[in-house]
Symmetry: C2
Subunit: 599 residues, 2 copies
């Protein structure tokens, strides 16, 4: 049996566009001789559609799109993710949401069965119990002499879950799992290990298709997987790129493997027998039946590959992985929201330099505008670094000095400020003048402002609300400062002859340059310590006591935790950015602003 | 039996402070001769604690506080809301959250039973399935010859739920329901009707205590209720104010009423027999046992009332209710976050005028600073209205003209803007200069900036990000413009001799005054139409087709819906504000920014 995994990039809310993508990739899989093609979770609505799912007409349009697409599916069997309505009494209590997260099985132009996701994630970035009612049965699709099952994303993460039930209790030899699994650092590798273990535990072939793309703060990393019943890795899709992956499987091999290690929970099984023309579509000659009017059966190079154990690509390094996630996140946020160009304030520092590199790699140099906005406190070093960076990247650079604007602000406020000492108010004014200039360019020319703050700064509030935080997308907001350095060096290493980021930018002690001789370390602990506390407190919810017991200095920990807590109000008004850690400042961290708890 | 309802105002995260409040109010209830005192849902943690509930040490501290408080509860029986840990296997699956939303029953210094909320709301502003594992049994507390039950908030909204189960299947004569029920317009009245119906259906006394206060975007409106088994209203707590409510009940009356209309679902019942001194605490002499060292039994006037059917207060009018909600929301956000003073930009328009009235009523005139920031487009009419408003309210007013700052911005940008036409970029610059000036005052003096945009503007993006949207709390962000007018007239009607809002402010066509002779209606449909579409599309998730079928003009509807959709990015960066409708722009409306769906 030739199996195709359609690792494509849908867009939330673009039902017609997504349906067209599914039809197009279905045709390509057919042309390539596939017997079965799997599409990602909720591919027709895009993922996550969030509160669009509360609109009855949205669900109806998704269902209508499914049936339109299905009518053209007269070749391979297809598994397509789609939200569907669920009536009260038919698997749903009156107090449950009227929608299910479904995998439709399509053959011979018809929807032959609709599986409803059983395990609904409702933690971290997920709110699926807000939207969906869970299914309560696992399908066993009898297709000719083959027996297979389908499930959706979270279902397959559960040991003893629907995968084992279908294989061990139901005798399925192939389980198709469709997914939109949000990226964080290292998740692809962990997921791959999980899938191989699940295949082994169930003694079954696992075909796991994951979508790809950026959606607001989430990035989906592709990296689809086919695992054999012995735990072997039979295919690994590209990370962070669209791809049609083709694999030839001999399902009779699954008979040699008994599942082990796990007993399935008591899932209800439902047998679905498929009749009709599609049932003849078996390995061998059937696969050669070309789509009417199709040009050729050969896979297209690049985004369509026939995988085998010997052609498997290797996993990206940590830095390459994160850099690719950032690039994809920026590209999709920009393009899916209809922007042609982005604008970035270049300070000469490492954060804006890295942001500019990502933007250029995502969109091309012509689509990136740099702006340097020197103040009375800017040094000639940082100014020349900004110019060198722009030159190295080949992007246009505007210079808009802020002094002539800063002065009348001070004059206007002088009678009110009177004899108060100069403090953060004057520092923030400068940052906000820069924010206003960037937003004026955005308003005049329709450019998207990319902000440049990193996670360490966002954590402790070392950023100016409406100043350097002003913009539409915060590229590195989930990247801790220590990782910013690693990524800068990684990007420079890709092009040793023309490393884009000046070495002086990397070497200079970081500074906001908002007062004379300022450095970040005047206000903050060293970044390696800060990043350890951010990881422990923000990502892992550790208490102060636990951090101190792990050897961190109590006074420093308490200082950082206090700063993190009191800056929740700033983060609430920050633009979205790419999530790359297990817990970003975004929808996966929901803390009250009004909050007296410490630690 | 004398029952006390402790309608108090806890603070999220302030475990020690909340515990002290509970102990203090317990003492007052004891002094007033209560046999039983009920505290709101999660009173020890504050509500909603959001992701604080993911920290194991936070839950442990709440439990420790419960046991400290309980040790002092040697008088009346107490029902206290608290998050508690739940072990795997003891009512919890491994994949469920390790915490329950509990009502602890306390007597004789000990926790005698802990009920775990069964019905967890996970819609609108609620995320309780993210945090809690549901309970699976309903308690029947046998206390001397009395039989009562307890449940938590959402539990009692379910017909046939734990209330009916306890009364109809278990024979309880009193059900104590503890709650933190977020306000929206008219909800208090609806909730009261529901509680009377529930009491009737179950043939039981219902004692429903709701907390009060503001927590970020939520306001809790108090309005606790005691309903008799015949559906009579026996007590109604103050709306939007703290109060200790005392009611004398003869539980034997419940025997005369058989529940009707509803059969309880199959809840598991668990009998809890209370032994010890507290069991003697019955109506009559026992109630007279004073707390050791207590001064008197008489209720204090004002915040402590002994209710009877004849002393029930009437419900607030719609305008009075919303105005009270806004006032409480502003007061609590300001005080609980430690601000002494707020600052508001006064344009001479109705939105900032209403915002200033609310702030003064919430905090007092001395705590409110007004700032008028005239531009080249400001008229003498609006300038004098701003001064008159400040004078009427008795607040200080600063005047900071923006022209001298606007000019160098234009000069700096002139080489880039070149021959482009003047447009929204120049308009927004002015709004952002004002935002910067307010934030500079905030940074220098520690004042909280209150923003003044209404819901109609927030919907269609008729506001400047980082401009008039800049600030910490958006007082009227959920108030549609048509209701802004009603509230302004309501506030003026309270003080006919010195109506604070100038009549000219109410009568003048609204304008942003960012270009010559501008009015809102140049860019927007009439506000009555706009508000109808906002209500249909935002609050009720109606489709364009439904709105058109209801008689609205298709072109206008499509225009407004398009504006609402494309301004999601702005709202994502808006400050929180008081929720007064069934669906605000806040945590109860979660839409993607990247979203191609229309309608």
């Amino acid at each position: 049996m030739r199996v195709a995994l359609a690792q494509l990039n849908p867009t939330v809310g673009d039902i017609d566009g997504n349906a067209a993508l599914v039809s197009e990739w279905y045709g390509r899989a057919w042309d390539a001789g596939a017997d079965l093609v799997a599409f990602p979770e909720l591919v027709l609505s895009g993922y996550p559609p969030e509160d669009l799912l509360l609109r009855g007409h949205f669900i109806e349009e998704c269902e209508a799109a499914l049936h339109r697409v299905a009518a053209g599916c007269t070749g391979p069997l297809a598994v397509i993710g789609v939200p569907v309505r669920v009536e009260v009494g038919r698997g749903r209590a009156a107090t449950e949401p009227p929608v299910a997260n479904a995998a439709a099985v399509v053959l011979d132009g018809r929807v032959v069965t609709v599986y409803k996701k059983i395990h609904l994630p409702n933690y971290a970035v997920f709110d699926e119990e807000r939207y969906f009612t869970p299914g309560d049965w696992v399908p066993l699709v009898e297709w000719g002499s083959e027996r297979l099952s389908v499930n959706v994303c979270e279902d397959i993460w559960n040991p003893g879950g629907p995968t084992e039930a279908a294989a061990l209790a139901g005798g399925a030899r192939l389980v198709v799992s469709i997914s939109m699994s949000p990226y964080h650092m290292g998740k692809g590798g962990e997921r791959e290990q999980m899938l191989r273990r699940r295949a082994t535990d169930a003694g079954v072939f696992v075909v796991y298709v994951n979508g790809v793309g950026g959606q607001d703060e989430l990035v989906f990393d592709g990296h689809s997987v086919v695992a054999g019943p012995d735990g072997s890795l039979l295919a690994r899709g590209a990370q962070f790129d669209e791809q049609l992956i083709l694999v030839d499987l001999d399902l009779s091999e699954a008979d040699a493997f008994e599942g082990r290690a796990v007993s399935p929970d008591g899932y209800s099984l439902r047998t679905v027998r498929i009749e009709g023309a599609g049932t003849a579509r078996r390995p061998g000659p059937a696969r050669q039946r070309a789509r009417p009017g199709a040009a050729a059966l050969a896979p297209t190079p690049g985004d369509m590959v026939l995988e085998s154990p010997t052609t498997g690509r290797s996993l990206l390094s940590r830095e390459a992985e994160v850099y690719a996630a950032l690039t994809l996140g920026v590209r999709d946020y920009t393009r899916k929201n209809g922007f042609q160009r982005v604008v970035i304030g270049l300070s000469g520092g490492i954060d804006s330099a890295l942001t500019a590199c990502v933007a250029v790699d995502a969109l091309g140099a012509a689509a990136v505008m740099g702006v340097t906005m020197p103040s009375r406190y800017s040094t000639s070093d940082t100014r020349s670094d900004a110019h060198n960076l722009a030159g190295n990247l080949g992007i246009e650079l505007l210079e808009l000095p802020i002094e002539s604007i800063f002065v009348p602000y001070l004059e206007t406020l002088a009678p009110v400020f009177a004899d108060r000492a100069v403090d953060v108010a004057e520092e923030n004014l400068q940052a906000r003048i820069r924010g206003n200039l960037l937003m004026a360019l955005s308003n005049k020319f329709g450019w998207l402002v990319l902000t440049t703050g990193n996670k360490s700064e966002m954590a402790v509030g070392y950023a100016t609300l409406y100043g350097d935080m002003a913009g539409g997308f915060a590229v590195i907001k989930d990247v801790p400062k220590t990782l910013v350095y690693d990524l800068a060096r990684y990007r420079n290493s890709l092009d040793p002859n023309l490393a884009p980021i000046p070495e002086s930018t990397i070497e200079r002690p970081p500074s906001a340059e908002l007062r004379p001789d300022q450095t970040d370390q005047d206000s903050l602990p060293p970044y390696d310590l800060l990043d350890r506390v951010v990881d422990a407190y923000v990502v892992r919810d550790e208490s102060v006591a636990t951090m101190v017991a792990a050897g961190l200095d109590r006074a420093e920990v308490e200082r950082v935790v206090h700063l993190i807590d009191r800056n929740e109000y700033k983060r609430r008004q920050a633009p979205p950015g790419v999530r790359i850690t297990l817990k970003a400042f975004g929808k996966d961290r929901r803390l009250p602003i009004t909050n007296r708890y410490q630690g």
